[in-house]
């Protein structure tokens, strides 16, 4: 496991990281999100000690890496494997040679190296590409090799710095699946630095939001999306703007509070309250714990007491608030268009309709 305490990095008078704390347990994927300029890449470079932190400590398996001498650090680094953005493979080495590289630096014997490279390439499903050069591999294949290389020295912590940037959605999901497998089977603690909310939602166990060098929001992904309406929660489950409501008072914001919300709630609540319910916008997804997470804007078509409506939703595990949700999303990533439903007016309407249809089908 890795424990980062009060990590601060200053360049002259500029404070890039300001007392960052977080801990990642073995077998956990912890995502750190934030817009560009929030300090994500500096945090990554401090964690693998490419940059020396100004103050604070980085404990890996109980050992403070910031206090080691240059010499001690060289061997202590093997506790942290790094997966770099766009893999960063050496172009003049084959896939197998790339994976073997960290072992060569530490004078691990030839026979041991061959065995381990075989094992790792097999692990990431790239055994058949062992003798290919990076230029002969696709982006996803390169990142698989990058993952294998990061694991070469059997680290207890894997630092993945934007591992899926530049990959298409399908390749991204296959890389994330592999990352989750590695977490479960090798019990590594994974620090996942990313700006893609889809990545966080599909693979992370916990999430921390970095803003101007500080972690200002954190929690397990399930906890964040089910129990709060914070900016991070709204960025994780972004709602496309639906058709403009005519009467504000009839509009309700819903949030799934429980993982086991019965998808038939739409019809069952409609019947209970004797009203039509129109879905204006919504996003429901299965998150990493296997339960559902959802966020929705609906309109109750018959005037009803607010308490009655709230109670009806609450009894089905849905949190309901009256009124329109604030649309501004501050600096949470996703605003720039990483998240479905936050860009392009036409696309938004289309997506909303699609989701609406899906929802109505699932409710019917």
């Amino acid at each position: 496991m890795i424990e980062v305490t009060a990590l601060t990095k200053r360049y002259g008078s500029l404070t890039v990281l300001d007392g960052v704390d977080f801990a990642v347990q073995a077998g956990e994927i912890a995502a750190v999100v934030g817009p560009s300029g929030a300090g994500k890449s500096t945090l990554a470079r401090c964690i693998n000690l490419l940059e020396k932190p100004t103050s604070g400590s980085i404990l890996v398996d109980g050992r403070d890496l910031t206090r080691l001498s240059r010499r001690e650090l060289r061997s202590a680094r093997r506790a942290i494997g790094t997966v770099f953005q766009s893999a960063s493979l050496l172009q003049r080495m084959t896939a197998a040679e790339n994976v073997a590289l960290p072992m060569r630096f530490l004078d691990i014997s030839h026979s041991e190296r061959i065995k381990r490279v075989h094992e790792l390439l097999d692990r990431v499903g790239m055994l058949h590409r062992a003798n290919h050069y990076p230029s002969q591999l696709s982006g996803g294949q390169q990142q698989r090799i990058g993952l294998a290389r990061g694991l070469a020295l059997k680290p207890s912590v894997l630092l993945a710095d934007e591992p899926t940037s530049g990959l298409d959605p399908q390749t991204t999901s296959s890389i994330l699946k592999l990352l989750a497998e590695l977490r479960d089977e090798l019990r590594v603690a994974v620090v996942l630095i990313t700006h893609e909310m889809d990545v966080v939602r599909s693979v992370a166990d916990s999430v921390a939001r970095l803003h101007e060098g500080k972690i200002i929001e954190r929690g397990s992904v399930a906890e964040v999306v089910r129990s709060s309406d914070s900016e991070l929660a709204r960025a994780l489950l972004p709602l496309p703007p639906g058709p403009a409501p005519q009467h504000e008072s009839e509009v309700w914001q819903l949030r799934y509070e429980r993982p086991d919300v019965d998808p038939a709630w739409l019809t069952s609540i409609g019947r209970e309250l004797d009203t039509d319910i129109s879905v204006l916008a919504g996003l429901i997804e299965t998150i990493d714990d296997g339960g559902a997470a959802g966020r929705m804007t609906v309109r109750i078509e018959r005037p009803l007491a607010a308490a009655e409506v709230r109670a009806a939703f609450a009894s089905r595990g849905i949190h309901a608030t009256q009124g329109d949700v604030p649309r501004t999303q501050g600096d949470v990533p996703g605003e720039q268009g990483d998240v479905p439903g936050t860009h392009g007016g036409v696309a938004r309407a289309g997506e909303a309709e699609e989701r609406h249809d899906a929802l109505v089908r699932s409710a019917a």
């Binding site: 680094r77 960063s88 050496l90 003049r92």
Partner: protein, 223 residues
């Protein structure tokens, strides 16, 4: 009055071949010196720069300045300037031995810059890969910088060989022998057109061969 009498074509080879040998010897020896000294110098310039492995402003600025000094003088001027130094090192100021000193002094900084540029092309994250997995500075230099930059360094090498062939011709002026000396003394001063044409043809061929061969090697090294 000088009467232009061209060496008969049959006699050209007896003058041309020894000259070719002298040029090859000069360029060969100089290139050995250039690689042995220029490569580490290039690595030092890059790695003391802010983007290098061990940034050091003062060291970087001073060696950079010295390297520029070697490249700022036209070769003929450099050759004349370093005559006392040449005398000191090889104990003569004429002949092949004397030509090697100024040629090396011009070639080393040239090659150092080519090496530096080749290494600068490697993205920073590829160096980070080494450092983050526990490589020492020397290991990063050997396994990452030199390995990744090899095609670029070889391309620089052929460029450098061609420059040295050109300098060896200029060095003919201090009696270094070789193709340049032959072209100037026979071809130019004695209006021997056969020698002149032969020298030109051979020089053009050599340069073409070096460039072609160099490009082939670079291509085979690039993956």
């Amino acid at each position: 009055m000088i009467i232009a009498t061209a060496t008969p074509w049959s006699g050209v080879s007896s003058l041309l071949l020894p000259a070719l040998g002298q040029t090859a010897a000069m360029v060969g020896i100089v290139m050995c010196i250039v690689v042995v000294l220029g490569l580490p110098l290039g690595l030092l310039i890059f790695n003391t720069s802010p983007r290098g492995l061990t940034p050091h402003t003062t060291v970087n600025a001073s060696i950079s300045w010295i390297a520029n000094l070697g490249r700022s003088l036209p070769f003929l001027v450099l050759m004349a300037t370093v005559i006392p130094f040449t005398q000191l090192v090889v104990n003569t100021t004429i002949g092949i031995k004397a030509a090697i000193i100024p040629m090396s002094l011009a070639g080393i900084p040239f090659f150092a810059r080519l090496v530096e540029n080749a290494i600068r092309e490697i993205p920073r994250t590829r160096l980070d890969v080494g450092i983050a997995s526990g490589a020492s500075v020397l290991q990063v230099i050997r396994k990452i910088q030199l390995t990744e930059a090899l095609p670029g360094i070889v391309a620089g090498l052929s460029l450098n060989v061609i420059a040295m062939i050109e300098y060896s011709a200029i060095a003919g002026a201090i009696g270094a022998g070789g193709l340049g000396y032959l072209a100037v003394n026979y071809g130019y001063e004695q209006f021997d057109s056969h020698i002149m044409i032969s020298c030109i043809v051979v020089l053009v061929l050599i340069v073409q061969i070096v460039q072609f061969g160099g490009d082939r090697i670079v291509r085979s090294l690039t993956h």
